[in-house]
């Protein structure tokens, strides 16, 4: 399959700062992939995300999205319409005072004609299951609902990639589940490539691939099973494995016959049932 995002030797240094934040990152993302990016606060995840949709341009190296180089200023609008981004704070990314007008903001900027605009907004609201809130005020919605509206705002631009930059970190568990389910569904049903940045380990278990970042570098890469099996590396990066994996690992250490590589509560349940 073809790479939809190609990052080659990309480094980034903020102006007025002495230190580089990202060091020669190499990363390819395949079309339709669900990629999770894990890492501690300040390790450069948001900077990486902003490189992908051209909000920042690498100080050296290159970032190519849908075969468009972000260094080419004329391509920035098409790049951003291909790679939509959902941010952390739900309140600070809504522009309009009515839900459907906020969803329309992106395609309005792209100059989409009114009849098609209407269609796109309705479809996008359906895609995140928020049609009934089309005429509500954003202030009335829960955090999870606001983030789903933000996702709809991206969907309405008909993107190929959605970048979620810790979009669930300010939400309650219910909101987090809503949002995570929504992006997984969009990934499966519409084939949208997802770059999902988080520091919640348990949100990554269904990913196709995880990269773990630390200090502006990619420190580990692999499927969720591979990543979480490498307990040493995880501990070294001071990350925490998902709760189900932790229990299974403890059980295995203590001589029980369970698979220590499981990730989800359901799998744990199965393992436990098979014990009795």
């Amino acid at each position: 399959m073809q790479n939809i995002i190609e990052i080659k030797q990309a480094s980034y240094k903020y102006e007025d700062e002495s230190q580089e934040v990202l060091h020669q990152i190499d990363l390819n993302v395949k079309k339709g992939e669900f990629l999770c990016v894990l890492g501690h606060n300040g390790c450069g995840k948001s900077t990486l995300a902003k490189l992908i949709n051209g909000l920042l341009i690498p100080t050296s190296g290159s970032v190519t999205v849908c075969s468009m180089d972000t260094r080419n200023e004329e391509l920035l609008i098409p790049i951003r319409s291909r790679a939509g981004m959902v941010f952390q704070n739900p309140d600070n990314q809504m522009v309009a005072t009515i839900v459907e007008e906020d969803v329309a903001f992106g395609p309005e900027n792209l100059g989409v004609e009114q009849a098609e605009l209407r269609q796109r907004v309705d479809n996008a609201l359906d895609a995140v299951d928020m049609r009934q809130f089309a005429l509500s005020a954003p202030n009335r919605l829960s955090g999870g609902q606001k983030q789903r509206i933000a996702i709809a705002g991206i969907i309405a631009m008909e993107p190929e990639i959605i970048i979620m930059d810790e979009a669930t970190s300010m939400l309650d568990p219910k909101g987090r589940r809503e949002v995570l389910e929504t992006v997984h569904r969009l990934n499966k049903e519409k084939g949208i490539t997802v770059v999902y940045i988080t520091h919640f380990m348990e949100e990554t278990v269904l990913a196709d691939r995880i990269i773990v970042m630390s200090g502006g570098k990619i420190e580990a890469e692999g499927t969720p099973k591979e990543i979480f099996a490498n307990t040493e590396k995880i501990n070294q990066l001071a990350l925490e494995v998902p709760p189900s994996t932790k229990i299974a690992q403890k059980l295995a250490e203590n001589g029980f016959n369970v698979d220590a590589n499981i990730l989800q509560p359901e799998e744990l349940l199965e393992e436990l049932c098979q014990l009795v």
Partner: protein
């Protein structure tokens, strides 16, 4: 979550509410102009009747409409007094030292007060029947032709709508910070002035910092969603004038005609001021 209402929009369904905001803005300007040029009490009476009629059609309780006068009651009273004491033509009805009140002074003061009240209430009809968002939309569309002379119609409308979006958020945040500061012993509404000023500063600074932070994030989010100014931008909501708007213009036309006729004929008989 707290629900603050902005302005004085009175959300009911009525023929006036459903008019195009541009129609309402233009008609309100016309109404204000014609209240201004009415020269007779009869003219003002017609204006008052017209406003009452619109208010009735818009299904706004008169009580609410009159409430908008409260805020500027003082100004009305002050203009009344000014006209009463400083208009010295006509026959004196009361004299005491330098104070002289004349009959035409009284008439004029009353006339001016009524005119002011009608102006405020007339303009109020617009804000009562049009939500702030519709108003913003209407103003943007009306001012768009001025873009050719460099008037930033889109930018101003964008700022207005972002302000509308963030006012409830920031007001809630103010509340939160106030509570947090109160918990640490800050007092906002009593004590010495210096102490109160200190408390307010302790409130304003975190609020300002947060507002800037939000602004930066919002700018990023807008840019990420391909915002690049008003050029080439389409809109989901298009304003459309309908038969109703034509009818509203026609009714306004008749009203204006009556005022003109009144000014030409009746003002010869009962000229005021």
């Amino acid at each position: 979550m707290k629900d603050i209402t902005l302005g004085q929009y009175y959300p009911v369904k009525s023929p006036v509410h459903s008019l195009d905001p541009r129609t309402k803005i233009i008609l309100t300007v016309l109404l204000i102009v014609f209240v201004f040029i009415s020269k007779t009490f009869a003219g003002l009476g017609i204006c008052a009747l017209f406003i009452l009629l619109v208010d009735f059609i818009a299904r706004i309780p008169l009580k609410n409409l009159l409430k908008s006068l409260k805020a500027i009651g003082f100004i009305i009273f002050f203009t009344f007094l000014l006209n009463l004491f400083f208009f010295t033509q006509g026959n004196a009805v009361f004299e005491y030292g330098i104070i002289k009140i004349t009959d035409s002074g009284i008439t004029r003061a009353v006339f001016m007060a009524i005119r002011l009240i009608l102006l405020i209430v007339g303009a109020g009809l617009l804000t009562f029947t049009t939500s702030p968002i519709e108003l913003t939309d209407g103003l943007e569309r009306l001012f768009t032709p001025l873009k050719v002379i460099g008037f930033p119609a889109h930018e101003i409308a964008m700022m207005m709508s972002i302000a509308l979006r963030f006012i409830p958020i920031l007001s809630e945040e103010t509340d939160k910070i106030m509570k947090a500061q109160s918990a640490r012993g800050a007092v906002f509404d009593q004590g010495k002035l210096t102490k109160r000023v200190k408390a307010i500063v302790a409130l304003l600074i975190p609020l300002l910092v947060s507002a800037f932070h939000r602004a930066l994030e919002l700018a990023n989010a807008m840019e990420a969603r391909c915002y690049h100014g008003g050029e080439g931008r389409t809109r989901l909501k298009v304003l459309k004038m309908t038969k109703k708007d034509a009818l509203a213009f026609a009714i306004m036309g008749i009203f204006c005609l009556i005022i003109v006729v009144d000014n030409l004929i009746l003002s010869k008989i009962f000229l005021v001021g």
